[in-house]
């Protein structure tokens, strides 16, 4: 059920607005009606709840419900004014900073940064200390304390706006700074600022009540929700019901502000909520393992589907393929052709939100549609990824990551695993292997990282290696060398390789057989000689061939070190 139109008011926003309306209505209507019951001293002290007074009476015989209703007005007024001070002056300061010349701006931002780190409540305390406690002081204190925070978010937003094309254009056209701010910048920031204002409102409400609660806000004989809660604290042993009213009212308004803020944010940024698609039970194809099949990998009718806007969207439409032992199979196609999805499905590593089905998906003796043993998987299939910049965790040293399989699945000790890995690194041309093991990934060049990846893939002597665009992110000179490593791996270890690439030139050099994929289907199967002599039949393959210059003969001199 894709919805083209979204409701004007989301449920959360509606609830928030209703709660908020209730609080405002209370603040307007209630005080005149119940002022007597709230403020008149009577002898009915500490009465338990009754039909007349739902929450009983306080130490002065005043009705607790009536007092909460009256206090709501003062709290609301104080909160609104203080929030307005924070927001308006925050926007003014934030925009001014952004329009200021470079140096001034830098300094102002730094000062703002340290001001924001300073707890607002303590800033408010400083102001309360100067102006002496009271309702007006509380408003000014909270209002001023909120300025730096709002100024900073405004400055951040202003930066985004000022990077936008139309703003740069306006600036080039010589629009004066003030006009730039009022006509271009502020309108562009209006919606996020409105959303942030609800946060300011909630924070101010909570903290202004906190000021009164600790005795530094509203003073007797005035009272707001915070001071009522403070009064109730003294009576907590004898008349605990007194705390209920102010507590509920504060939470109610705070929740209302939260709902309104979240609702507005959701309206402003209607990220299509990720639809929840129940996963289908995976087809159990174990029984379908063909006997006497010589191929290492056998794929029949592989279908991979994701979901978009809550609907199933098939991305790979029933692929058949096989890879023999010690064979290098290439798959070429443009991005989005489904070649990587196919490879990752064979590896059993399709993303969580994808649904993989098929009549058969077998690697060696393992049914990849089921759940093969991790140790066997790790030793049978090695995978090399496209971007060596992101394939290693930035917070672990290379050595720790490269020896994972050796230690976890092959029962090697730490020292032995390191020794084996150092040898493997050296064999694929990684310089200073001992040192590399102690380095973090970001300390290595892309080529070094990819060689390291290959080394880690090699040490398990896998039956199948899946290489997903392993050379795309590398310099051309490094590419040649990496490709040579693959060839050697096959020649010397008898490893079968599934080589994914969008570069038909690279594939024809390396592969024994090439599949051309397009839009989730295999459109053509070729021998490298056919590619070389351009004996291709499918127009898509022809266009791929036309897109790349013919690669000169292999065996070119390699440049080993690129950094």
């Amino acid at each position: 059920m894709t919805e083209a139109r979204r409701p004007l008011l989301r449920p959360g926003l509606l609830i928030g607005l209703i709660l908020f309306a209730v609080a405002v209505a209370t603040a307007i209507i209630a005080p005149p009606l119940v002022a007597d019951a709230a403020n008149t001293l009577t002898d009915n002290r500490h009465q338990p709840p009754s039909g007349g007074s739902w929450l009983g009476t306080n130490a002065f015989g005043q009705d607790n419900v009536a007092r909460v209703l009256v206090a709501t007005r003062l709290t609301l007024i104080m909160t609104v004014i203080a929030s307005a001070i924070s927001v308006v002056l925050g926007v003014v300061v934030g925009v001014s900073i952004w329009l200021a010349p470079g140096r001034v701006r830098e300094w102002c931002l730094r000062i703002l940064e340290s001001a924001v780190a300073y707890p607002t409540l303590i800033t408010a305390l400083i102001i309360a200390a100067v102006l002496l406690p009271g309702a007006t002081t509380a408003v000014i204190a909270m209002g001023v304390a909120g300025i730096p925070g709002f100024a900073r978010v405004t400055a951040n937003l202003a930066q985004q706006v000022s990077n936008s094309d139309y703003f740069i254009t306006a600036r080039f056209l010589g629009v004066p700074a003030r006009r730039l701010a009022t006509r271009h910048m502020i309108p562009a920031m209006a919606e996020p600022l409105l959303i942030l204002s609800t946060t300011v409102f909630a924070t101010t409400l909570v903290e202004i009540s906190a000021l009164s609660f600790v005795g530094l806000g509203v003073q007797v004989p005035q009272y707001d929700l915070g001071s009522l809660l403070n009064d109730s604290l003294d009576a907590l042993y004898t008349q605990p019901i007194e705390a209920v009213g102010p507590a509920i009212m504060i939470v109610l308004m705070s929740v209302a502000a939260m709902f309104v803020g979240d609702g507005l944010a959701a309206n402003a940024n209607p990220r299509a909520a990720r639809a929840w698609v129940p996963r289908r039970p995976q087809a159990q194809a174990a029984a379908a393992l063909a006997t006497g099949d010589e191929a290492l990998v056998r794929v029949r009718d592989l279908r991979v589907a994701g979901s978009k806007d809550g609907e199933r969207l098939e991305l790979v439409h029933g692929i058949d393929l096989h890879i023999d032992r010690a064979e290098i199979l290439g798959i070429v196609g443009e991005s989005g052709s489904g070649k990587s999805l196919t490879a990752m499905s064979i590896a059993g590593l399709a993303a969580d939100d994808l649904d993989v089905q098929g009549a058969e998906l077998r690697v060696g003796t393992m049914n990849m549609l089921g759940t093969p043993a991790p140790a066997e998987l790790a030793q049978t299939i090695s995978i090399i990824y496209q971007d060596p910049g992101t394939t290693f965790s930035p917070s672990l040293k290379m050595g720790a990551q490269l020896t994972e399989v050796l230690r976890t699945h092959m029962g090697r000790g730490r020292a032995e695993a390191r020794r084996i890995m150092v040898g493997a690194l050296a064999s694929v041309g990684v310089t200073l292997p001992e040192k590399r093991m102690r380095q973090y990934p970001y300390e290595l060049s892309g080529g070094m990282r990819q060689r390291a990846m290959i080394a880690s893939a090699v040490v398990t002597e896998p039956a199948l290696m899946i290489a997903d665009e392993p050379t795309t992110a590398l310099d051309v000179t490094v590419q040649v060398d990496v490709l040579r490593q693959f060839r050697r791996l096959r020649d010397e270890n008898g490893t079968a390789i599934l080589f994914i690439s969008h570069d038909i030139g690279v594939v024809q050099e390396l592969c024994d057989r090439v599949l051309v994929m397009r839009r989730g289907e295999v459109v053509e199967e070729l021998r490298p000689e056919q590619i070389r002599s351009r004996e291709v039949s499918h127009p898509y393959t022809r266009s791929l061939l036309d897109a790349v210059p013919v690669l000169s003969a292999a065996g070119a001199a390699h440049v080993r070190e690129e950094d």
Partner: protein
């Protein structure tokens, strides 16, 4: 292992260029310079602001500070104690010297030195704030990570909804309302914990929980969002490709990479907790800096107000720096500009 053992491909390598090892070029030195400068700036602002508290008092500061109903003699004493008879710049100089010699005068209320009054309260606030942060991290990191892992790829959507609703709701309840509720239920009705004071160790529990629960919700949500991003990273796929157990993947490959964001925010939140401490310490009668500053404001004890506000400010600023240092140790790239690229 034929391929591994053939070392034929070894080739001599070029020596990579290294920046001259001058002090300012060392990443830690530059880091210290930048952070030290930032700290000095914040400190200067704090000194000026706390100094201004007294001169800015409305009307005659001495009259205000002496309190209502003070005699002429008391007002004169106050004037002298605050050095108000001298020119503003001289006052400021004396204030500045006082800070660096840790001689900031005497408390009006108790007669002890300001330094003693302030530093005797520091351990109590430190205790509660550090405990709260530890508890917050222990609760929120596993919670946020757990929810991210359980719901990834759109599974178990209900967990997500429950988590969002719960964290929003708990966050919307102010800590002092929560504290009031806990005092009533856990201290008065059930008698499990003392309702206030700092006499026994278990008196720590309620204030700590009251302070950390709200921030824990924020951090849990941050951790969840961050974990969702990290779970989609290539290196997590690599680790899964090595067929490591989910536990090992999450602990070694997801968790450490969460720390940068989480710790950055936790530092800010710890600074914010100093504000929370003001309220919570007052509720529970906890003899820390927060209660100290509130009492001092009510009693117009200006030397103590200045002392505590200054200390709280320095603490807040130092916390941010400490977090930056921890981040730089966890991941040297956070030093800003590494020597390697």
């Amino acid at each position: 292992m034929t391929l591994v053992n053939s070392a034929a491909t070894q080739v001599p390598h070029r020596v990579s260029f290294k920046a001259p090892n001058r002090l300012v070029h060392h990443p830690w030195a530059r880091f210290a310079l930048r952070r030290g400068g930032g700290f000095l700036l914040s400190f200067a602002i704090l000194v000026v602001v706390t100094f201004l508290i007294v001169p800015l008092l409305p009307g005659d500061p001495a009259v205000v500070a002496a309190g209502e109903g003070a005699t002429q003699e008391q007002i004169a004493q106050t004037r002298e104690a605050l050095g108000l008879e001298q020119p503003l710049l001289v006052q400021f100089w004396q204030y500045l010297v006082g800070i660096f010699t840790l001689d900031m005068g005497y408390s009006f209320a108790s007669g002890t030195t300001v330094t003693a009054a302030v530093f005797s309260r520091l351990p109590f606030t430190a205790e509660i704030a550090l405990l709260a942060v530890a508890a917050m991290l222990v609760v929120s990191i596993p919670l946020g990570m757990g929810v991210a892992i359980v719901t990834r790829g759109g599974r178990n959507a209900w967990v997500d909804h429950v988590f969002n609703a719960l964290t929003s709701l708990v966050y919307a309840v102010p800590n002092y309302v929560l504290a009031t509720l806990m005092i009533y239920v856990l201290a008065i009705r059930l008698g499990w914990f003392p309702a206030g004071g700092a006499a026994t160790l278990d008196a720590l529990v309620l204030p700590t929980v009251a302070i950390m629960l709200g921030p824990a919700c924020v951090i849990a949500r941050v951790v969840r969002r961050e974990a969702v991003t990290i779970l989609e990273q290539d290196y997590v796929r690599t680790a899964r490709g090595w067929r490591l157990s989910p536990w090992r993947v999450n602990l070694r490959y997801v968790f450490p990479n969460l720390l940068t964001t989480t710790l950055t925010l936790s530092g800010l939140i710890l600074a914010g907790m100093l504000g929370g401490a003001v309220v919570i310490e007052t509720v529970f009668g906890w003899p820390g800096l927060g209660k100290g500053v509130v009492d001092a404001i009510i009693m117009r004890d200006y030397p103590v107000i200045r002392g505590i506000v200054l200390l709280l400010g320095v603490l807040a600023t130092l916390l941010i720096i400490v977090v930056d240092v921890i981040l730089a140790i966890v991941d040297p790239r956070n030093l800003g500009g590494s020597a390697h690229d």
